[in-house]
Symmetry: C2
């Protein structure tokens, strides 16, 4: 257990630690007294039928949703909906390697799967908030993995689903890409097999990881058109050292590895003996599948192939020169599109 100033309300804004009890993981171990860091927006109505669940991506927390996705001018409108953002297990805020004491601390933190997150979130939603059905589950990237898992595992609880820039079954290419991120971290001598004394010991490895995200996270046009200028930087290098590296450098390496392991193995067809069509056939939610056109590792064609397997679904492609990391709402046109699609989805009877 170590201290990391990044994972605090000072940095992330208000959130609550909610215990959802002991969580028996798919891989066999148990997270005792598992806690989810949860931020909520708006008010749950008496009928408890105005709730939306947002799931988080790799490196992500509730913060980006608070800053960019949620508000009176957005489809995710807290004046209308009770919006729950559940930080995924291992993301540094919820129960994670660096904030767990005892035998499951740091390098001994167990492997967690997307299904474990969704089981934990279902308890949160039903037992803690008393909600039986969600108006919408929405998330990007690993958040899309959780969204699909929700729609397959608890179809009766999910009225609508919006997986953004992510897949129901992780692809082999994504797996090997993610492995290069892991290797960047692990190859830093300061990593000490996960038993570093501060995340800053692994600064070089985290910087290398940041650079890999620079290659795959954006698009070739993002760099060619020098789109980083719109984010206030003078050069590509300044963008990398002033934005990408500090972003990753603040994080906990074991948290990143925990999330990466989960990401690599996300697969709803685990419920159906490997039959993806059968798994996605269980989805009853009205679903908008929302890939990003310039995404280099969740390409539209992979998302579109899955969308074809979801009965009540539509493909809604988001245009963004920022590629996968368009998820961070790096262009005004991004949220305009997300709001338009989610607004339409929420207005659709389901």
């Amino acid at each position: 257990m170590i201290t990391n100033a990044y994972y605090t309300t000072e940095v992330h804004g208000p959130y609550e630690m909610i215990t959802i009890g002991d969580l028996v993981l798919e891989e066999g171990q148990t997270l005792p007294g598992c806690q989810l860091a949860v931020a909520t927006f708006g008010k749950l109505n008496q009928a408890k039928d105005n709730a939306i669940l947002i799931t988080t991506w790799y490196t992500g927390t509730h913060q980006i949703f608070a800053q960019a996705y949620i508000g009176p001018s957005h489809a995710l409108n807290p004046d209308k909906y009770f919006i729950i953002v559940a930080n995924q297990i291992g993301n540094g805020l919820s129960t994670s390697p660096h904030n767990t004491d005892g035998p499951l601390s740091m390098s001994k933190f167990p492997h967690v799967r997307i299904g474990d997150d969704v089981v934990a979130q279902e308890r949160l939603v039903r037992e803690h908030f008393g909600i039986e059905r969600l108006e919408l589950v929405v998330g990007g990237s690993m958040g899309a993995q959780q969204t699909y898992e929700w729609a397959v595992r608890f179809p009766n609880m999910v009225k609508r689903a919006a997986p953004i820039a992510g897949t129901a079954k992780n692809t082999p290419h994504d797996f090997i890409y993610t492995e290069t991120l892991n290797e960047a971290t692990r190859s830093d001598p300061g990593f000490h097999a996960g038993e570093y004394s501060a995340n800053t010991d692994v600064r070089a490895g985290l910087s290398r990881q940041a650079r890999l995200w620079s290659v795959m996270g954006f698009s070739t046009e993002f760099w060619k058109q020098e789109h980083w200028k719109t984010l206030g930087f003078d050069s590509a290098d300044a963008f990398q050292t002033g934005f990408m590296e500090p972003y990753f450098g603040a994080m906990d390496p074991n948290a990143l590895l925990t999330m990466a392991w989960k990401w690599q193995r996300g697969d709803v067809s685990r419920h159906t003996g490997g039959d993806l069509a059968a798994a996605l056939g269980r989805v009853t939610a009205k679903t908008f599948v929302m890939p990003i056109d310039e995404d280099m590792f969740f390409p539209v064609r992979d998302c579109a192939a899955e969308q074809q397997l979801v009965r009540n679904s539509e493909l809604r492609v988001i245009k963004s020169i920022s590629g996968h990391l368009g998820l961070f709402s790096l262009e005004p046109s991004y949220m305009e599109q997300v709001d338009r699609h989610l607004g339409e989805l929420l207005a659709t009877p389901a």
Copy 2:
């Protein structure tokens, strides 16, 4: 200077070391008695007007051309043409960090530019072989950079040009991708700032580089469709450990860094004060610009934008699920397309 069994005729088949004299580099230093490793195929005719020059890519040598591109059944037909494959400086066969003695050895090897290669090759062609005009200059990736450089710098000597899967001016995205390759190598403690005692000291770094190529070098579909099966492997992992890692693991780290530095800065607009249109406007060769449709870092749109700036040119897109590394002719359909385009180009009066 160290020994590396990879850079031998045993591994690479016959080639000749040809001295082209002292080479004053664009960056100011001089490579004394610079040698190019050269393989030739076919016979130069009396008029010396049947010569083709092939340039090499990052990690590449003449070998892949001998194995896949050149032959009586190919457009690059040695029964008809005198075909010269000039290994690029720093590729491990030509003058390179590990085979240079004295003050320019290993980490002290100077920075070489694409223009330096082309100046060296021009001497080879004109002074050594007595050829005044080439029927065709063709190369892939960094070989395409050299092809463009030839067509811009020596327009009177280049009748036809075929840059495959590469650009005249390297893109910012390519630059940062290449930098991750360099970091993978340099971050290996065994690299010792370029003064390792054997390339095997840097095995971990070279393996990490191999994995980065697995992510960017192929296409997402290559992995999804398990195309490695057609190359004789049982699993994606076996393909990586049995093919990608040994391929890179055999190479010299300083050679890779020398080529990478050059690749990152390839830019024909250095001749015209940064004006790419002006530089490409100098090209008189009949040119087929041949990007690969699934290339993740020389995408078709980048190549097509340059093609628009070359007067006497056509865009010929090659389809290959293998992406950039389709260059290695990993599918029968690849060479069929290359042969068709090059055959047509060679049949075009110029």
